[in-house]
Subunit: 427 residues, 2 copies
């Protein structure tokens, strides 16, 4: 189906970062033309006058089944919360829980302008993949493997990741499978190497947590004589197919290792603050080293939202705070992190609005009191909220149209999520 | 007019901080009854089943005419931005600019659940008061006086504040006038004392910026031998009628001075981060000292939003970060700061949902994908966004009803704000 989006104010995120007023033609799920005025017929026309168009946001680190835990057992310190609440609940997880949480997370992401996400979770991952394909969302999904924490063998744990890849790789251009060893401190060296080798051999991304907390760094130094990113580097695990989540507690030397390797880093500011990890990811050092910086929400259990617009605001403002300088990370760099850098990290040809690109496009109503007056589009992420978003296209498919989901039954998904959450933790 | 709100999930913010499911009866602009089920007729009935009700939020520090500057000249450092952009524009301000910016700010506040705000600005303040009365909003409004910066005499500058009070005090129960000397470093001692004496004599609030930046503290120590809050204390300017904005760069001794005096403090986290002031207001110390802690957005020129829900999230998370402890400021304390504490600071009988209170009430649709599942209402401010808010009542008057303004012409106000902003800074 061809679609013509008419008369939008477009943040293109193209090579020259142009912002233009014009039309976007979509053919076969891809953008074929962007111009001031496109003539000719298209099967579908979307009137976007008075609207902003921007590339669908890429959430570079999350755990969407944890949507069921949003707001569950608040007001506890991390350790108690995990040991007494989250882990016991996770041991009870059934496929229906994961399915319900995944669909809920997808609804929330679409409504807040996210069209693609990087997922890692620890059980029933077939349900996540099924939810992605069933909803028309774009995602990179990996099975979170951790033999040390789960007390299994490296081989047994590796099978989880491998089976997911074998079952789902190549099933849809909207779905990539990644290898997702949980973290250097929860995985044995054997498992990390098995995962990386398999990823290399099969051209899959590697997705791993690293240096989220100070304790993790201390333990790593004590046990391995290396900081976590140094350790991953020593195993040959850093390259352009690797996506690191967090990387907050790092030395400058580690940021250089990440930059030189071409690895991507997902900064997840809201979750870092909520868990009070104390470290703010030093984006300036990473950027100076040439790292591909992305942004993520992390799971809603530690956020409590999948709202990437909010994450963009937190990211820019936290860096201003960290360096006592409002210009240290520019507004443009934040857009890049949330769009093209994320797409590159996950291996999708999306993240900008230009010919040949995947048609992942978000429209927002500029006639909103929180967006006026319009002095310049780039800073709009400081004031945009999900209520401003009217349309979301993924691979040209209008998943959200004039504020309504076209095929997902939102009410039913919300009800089912509530029911499954109560069954899981309603104690 | 009597109004009955039926079957809401109510965050009451009453003395026991009860959360109940039930009805709210409003008579003559005040809440007369809150109970599980209220029988009997009311002229208006609002079906709030599936909705959350919470007390209208109180924005304890802002400059709403600056709504016209939202997103204007981004990407500049504070000093350049003020000297080259904002101050020249402010010298060109006409009444129509202030009116347009005020109405825009009010729209945005109502849509994000704010029913009351604490305003200080520097020109054409009659227009702000007119916008408050014309819109049905609740506010405390003061003329921002600063003889040192404006190079006028204390008496001349004081006249601005006094005239506003004489003209508008007592005009409406929705409007309080405050005395608003801008800051210790922009006002002479004479002006500060004139303002405070007048406020005391006429039972008005005093609203003043203090200790926002480190430079201000250094300069104060050098010029006066005292830190800014010590200086205000030495002038007898701290008491329960005083609202301090910022107070980020303070010693523990200063937080104790604030607490002992019974003064209120508005913490404005988003603006502090955006201007990269480097200091995070130490709420724990203020709370331990017994200070009345409130929250504000500051103007949208340094935010870029009037969204108090977002400010609540930033406030809680920043304190978690500051103290490396997610429980240092509780979710309940954040609700208190954004509701009852703010109302107390500004001298209004609002901020909670209970008999005898002003009927400032917000309804939000709980059947929203970003709010499900519902494990507990208090943490909802971490995930609520303005798009979830359906109804806003101020003094019982439904200003926003099912997502639509009942008497304000939203489209027209947005258009006019755009037009006035272009006229003001479209260079």
């Amino acid at each position: 189906m061809d679609t013509l989006i008419r008369d939008a104010l477009i943040i293109t995120q193209n090579r020259n970062r142009e912002i233009i007023r014009g039309d976007i033609l979509i053919e076969d799920g891809k953008i074929s033309k962007v111009a001031k005025s496109i003539h000719g017929g298209a099967e579908e026309r979307i009137d976007a006058s008075g609207k902003l168009a921007f590339p669908g946001l890429v959430n570079a680190h999350t755990h969407i089944p944890m949507s069921l835990f949003r707001g569950y057992a608040e007001g506890m310190r991390l350790h108690d919360w995990l040991e007494k609440k989250i882990w016991p609940a996770e041991r009870r997880l059934k496929p229906a829980h994961v399915r319900a949480g995944s669909l809920l997370g997808i609804l929330e992401m679409v409504r807040s302008g996210t069209t693609c996400f990087n997922e890692m979770y620890i059980a029933h991952m077939d349900e996540v993949c099924g939810a992605v394909l069933g909803s028309g969302m774009r995602a990179s999904v990996g099975f979170g493997m951790f033999d040390l924490a789960r007390k299994t063998s490296p081989e047994e744990e590796f099978k989880n990741g491998k089976s997911l890849a074998e079952k789902w790789s190549g099933k849809s251009p909207l779905l990539n499978i990644s290898m997702a060893p949980h973290a250097p401190y929860t995985c044995s060296e054997e498992l990390l190497l098995l995962a990386k080798e398999y990823a290399r051999r099969n051209c899959l991304r590697l997705h791993i947590h690293v240096s989220e907390t100070r304790k993790e760094v201390f333990d790593s130094l004590q046990q391995k004589g290396k900081r976590p990113i140094e350790y991953l580097h020593s195993l040959g695990m850093l390259d352009s197919e690797t996506v690191l989540a967090h990387g907050s507690w790092v030395t400058k030397r580690e940021s250089v290792l990440v930059g030189k390797s071409g690895a991507s880093l997902s900064h997840n500011p809201v979750a870092n603050l909520k868990l009070a990890t104390g470290g703010i990811c030093p984006l300036r050092e990473y950027l100076e080293a040439g790292a591909n910086i992305c942004l993520g929400t992390d799971g809603t259990a530690s956020n409590n939202s999948h709202n990437m617009l909010e994450t963009m605001k937190f990211a820019q403002l936290l860096q201003s705070h960290l360096y006592w300088d409002p210009l240290r990370i520019s507004i443009q760099q934040v857009w890049d992190a949330a769009t093209i850098n994320g797409a590159k990290a996950l291996g999708f040809n999306s993240g900008s609005i230009g010919p040949g690109k995947e048609a992942d496009i978000v429209l927002a109503d500029l006639r909103s009191c929180n967006l006026a007056p319009l002095h310049g589009p780039p800073s709009l992420f400081f004031s945009l909220h999900p209520g401003n978003i009217t349309d979301v296209l993924i691979a040209g498919n209008p998943v959200l149209s004039e504020g309504k989901f076209t095929s997902l039954d939102e009410g039913k998904i919300i009800e089912e999520a509530q029911r499954q959450a109560e069954g899981l933790v309603g104690d």
